[in-house]
Amino acid sequence: MKNSIDNIFKEAKKQNRPALISYTVCGDNNKENSLNILNSISENIDIAEWGIAHNCPTADGKEIQNSSYRALTNGIKLKNIFQMVKKYKKNNFSKPIILMGYYQMIFNYGEVKFIKKCKEVGVDGLIVVDLSYPDNKDFAKLCKKNSICFVQLIAPTTSKQRMKEILKVSDTMVYMISMISTTGSALKVTTKKIIENYKIVKKISPSKNVVIGFGITEKTIGKLKSADGLVVGSAICKEISKSLKHRQNPVTNVSKLVKKLKSKIL
C-alpha cells in the first residue's frame, strides 16, 4: 500500500490548496468526545494529529497543556489511544492519523512494542517532540521499516546545514515550526517571514511535503496557504476549553471552527 500521507498531499495539491491538519489531544475533554470531535471534523481535514498526553510537557503552550491535563484527569491511557485510533480508522480509512507525543511515553511502553501496536491499529505517522535529529535516527528507521511516517521537525533556529541533514533522512512529511515558541502562542513573526523560511526548506528539498505549525489561527491561516500543509492545534484546543467554560458542546463548536478554517484555505 502506498503511504497514504503522500497521497493526501497530492490530492490537496490537485485542488490547489494546502492540506489541513488538525491537532487535538486524544482523550480531551474525555475519551468519547475526543473521538466524536475527530469524526465530526474528519470531512474537513486531511490529516489528524492526535496528541498523547504527558504530565511533564516541556514544549507545549498553555492551551495544549490544559487539553492534556483534561485528558489525563479523565484517565486516558495509551491502551485507550490505540483502541480509539482503531475506531477512527474504521470509519475514516482514507484519513491518515499521526500520533504526537513526548519520547518518555514511547520509551516507557517500549519502542518496538509501540511501533508494532501503531502498525496494528493503523497509525500512519509519528511526531516525537523531544526526540530530535540525530538522536532519532534509529527510531526513524524503525518507523520506516514498519511503513510509519516519522515526521522530522525543523525550527527557525535550525541551521541550513542541519536542515539539509534532517531533510536528507526525513520521510515524506516534514514539520516546520513557524517561530521560536512553545505551541500555541500568538505569532511573533510575520506570515511573510514564515513563508520565506518555508521557501528555504522547499528549495533544499522540493519533493518533501512541508507543513507549517505553531500559532496558526483563523486570522493567519489564509496568509500561509501557499504551504504544502498547515497544522492547527492550540486554536482547536482553545475552542474546546471555551466550549466547556460556556457549557457548550465542544464537538459542534470545534466542527464549526474547522469548517471556517477550511474555507480560508480554499
Partner: protein, 404 residues
C-alpha cells in the same frame, strides 16, 4: 560499566551526551532548543579552558561568594554518637547560604559571556533562585525565576530575597506546584525565548550541557575539601562523604575530586527523601526534563508525584550522573524520612552551632545512623549544604522551635 579514571565524571559521555552506554543523559529536547544548546556547549567548552574565564570565576568565588567555606570537626556530636569522627564541610557558610551559589554565579558569568541579557532558572527550595537573582543583579542581567506555588509559600524567606534582588518570580501553578513543574515551565520559557535568554537549570539535571555546567561549578566544594583534608590529616584518610540528594548538584560537587579513589578508601553516600527517592528505591529509567535518568513514574510512564517536607528534595528525577555512579556502584544511595531529618536537625542543632536546612538534615540523619557503628579512625564528612533560616517556619510547625 566502569568509570574512567583520570577523566572528570561530567566528561564521561559519548558524542550524543549519553553516559553509561546510552542509559543516562542525552539531549531530549525540542528542535527549537537544539541550536541554542549546541551554542552553549561550545561556549562552555571554550570558557572552561580559558585562563581568563577561570580567573574571573575564581575572583567571583573568592570576593563575591566569600572564598573557602570552613571544614571542622564536630567534637560534641562525635562524642555523643561514640563512633566515627564527624566532620562538617560547612558549605552553608558561603555568601548565598547554599552550594547553589556556585552554579548560579557561573551561569550568570556564562550568560554575560554569551551576550544574552536575560537569564531564567527554576528553583524548589529557593536557594538557586535566590543566588541566581543575586548573581543577575551583580552582573546586570534580568532574571526570571520559576517556582511552584506550593514552594513559594513554604520557602517564603527566599522568595523575598529574589524579589528584593530585582528578579521576577514566576509562580507555577500546574501539576504538583513544586520543583518538577517549575523546571518544566522554565524549560518551556526557554523554548520560547532561547534566542535571547540563557537557561540556568537549578540542578545537575536537564540536557547534557546543563548538568555539566552545574556539576562543574559545584565541584569547587571538593577542591577545597581535598586541600582541607590534607592540611588536617596530612593525607586523604579513610572517608565517608555523606551528602543529601535532590537533583544531585551538591553531592556531585562534594564528590567530584574523590571519584577516582577506591570506594573502600573514600565511600560516597547519597541520601534521598523517603518519598522522592528514585536512586535508593531502584526506580525505572525515564526521560524527564531532557535526559534519561532514574525517575519515579507510574505504570503508564507519567511522572509520579513526590512528597517531602523539603522543597529542594521534592523531585521525582535524579541527575544522570548519579545514575552512572549508582550503576557503577561507586556511590551508595539511601533515604531518610521527614521525621528522621527533623530529628537529625534537633540533635545537630542542640550539640553543635549548626542550623542545617531541611535538605542537609537528611544527610545528617544518615550520619547519625552509621557513626556509632564505625571506628574512631573512620572519618565521616557531611556536606552541610544549606542554611536553615528558610525552613524556620517548617521547623517550628514540626518540632515546636527553631534555635536562634
Amino acid at each position: 560499566m566502569k568509570l574512567k579514571k583520570g577523566i572528570n565524571i561530567i566528561d564521561q559521555h559519548d558524542k550524543f551526551g549519553f553516559y553509561c552506554n546510552g542509559k543516562f543523559g542525552g539531549n531530549f529536547v525540542a528542535e527549537t532548543a537544539r541550536k541554542p544548546i549546541e551554542d552553549l556547549s561550545k561556549l562552555f567548552e571554550k570558557l572552561r579552558r580559558s585562563k581568563k574565564f577561570l580567573k574571573k570565576r575564581d575572583f567571583y568565588f573568592k570576593h563575591y561568594l566569600g572564598g573557602e567555606t570552613p571544614f571542622f570537626k564536630l567534637n560534641n556530636l562525635t562524642k555523643y554518637l561514640g563512633g566515627a569522627q564527624i566532620w562538617c564541610k560547612d558549605v552553608s557558610a558561603i555568601n548565598g547560604d547554599a552550594h547553589k551559589a556556585y552554579h548560579a554565579t557561573v551561569n550568570a558569568l556564562i550568560c554575560k559571556e554569551s551576550g544574552k541579557k536575560f537569564i531564567a532558572g527554576d528553583t524548589g527550595a529557593g536557594m538557586f533562585g535566590k543566588n541566581l537573582a543575586l548573581a543577575a543583579k551583580e552582573m546586570k542581567l534580568s532574571a526570571k525565576i520559576f517556582m511552584g506555588t506550593k514552594d513559594i509559600s513554604r520557602q517564603a524567606p527566599n522568595v523575598k530575597f529574589m524579589r528584593e534582588a530585582g528578579a521576577e518570580v514566576v509562580p507555577v501553578d500546574s501539576g504538583s506546584k513544586t520543583l518538577v513543574d517549575a523546571v518544566s515551565e522554565c524549560m518551556r520559557h526557554y523554548v520560547s525565548n532561547c534566542d535571547t535568554t540563557h537557561l540556568a537549570v537549578g540542578s545537575a539535571i536537564g540536557a547534557n550541557i546543563f548538568l555539566k555546567i552545574c556539576a562543574w561549578s559545584t565541584s569547587q566544594i571538593s577542591r577545597e575539601l581535598k586541600r582541607q583534608l590534607i592540611k588536617e590529616f596530612g593525607e586523604i584518610p579513610k572517608l565517608k562523604l555523606i551528602n543529601v540528594i535532590g537533583g544531585g548538584s551538591s553531592a556531585l560537587g562534594f564528590w567530584n575530586e574523590f571519584i577516582d579513589y577506591d570506594k573502600k578508601h573514600v565511600e560516597l553516600i547519597g541520601v534521598e527523601a523517603k518519598y522522592a527517592a528514585p536512586l535508593a528505591t531502584n526506580a525505572k529509567v525515564a526521560i524527564l526534563h531532557g535526559a534519561a535518568q532514574y525517575c519515579l513514574t507510574d505504570k503508564e510512564g507519567q511522572i509520579a508525584e513526590t512528597h517531602s517536607l523539603s522543597a529542594g528534595l521534592d523531585y521525582p528525577g535524579s541527575s544522570p550522573l548519579h545514575g552512572l555512579l549508582k550503576d557503577t556502584k561507586r556511590a551508595r544511595y539511601t533515604l531518610a524520612s521527614d521525621k528522621e531529618a527533623l530529628n537529625a536537625f534537633k540533635l545537630v542543632s542542640k550539640l553543635e552551632n549548626l542550623r542545617p536546612s531541611l535538605e542537609p538534615a537528611h544527610a545528617w540523619s544518615e550520619c547519625i545512623r552509621i557513626a556509632p557503628k564505625l571506628k574512631k579512625s573512620d572519618v565521616i564528612v557531611v556536606n552541610n549544604c544549606g542554611k536553615g533560616y528558610k525552613d524556620k517556619k517548617i521547623y517550628i510547625e514540626n518540632i515546636g522551635y527553631y534555635p536562634e
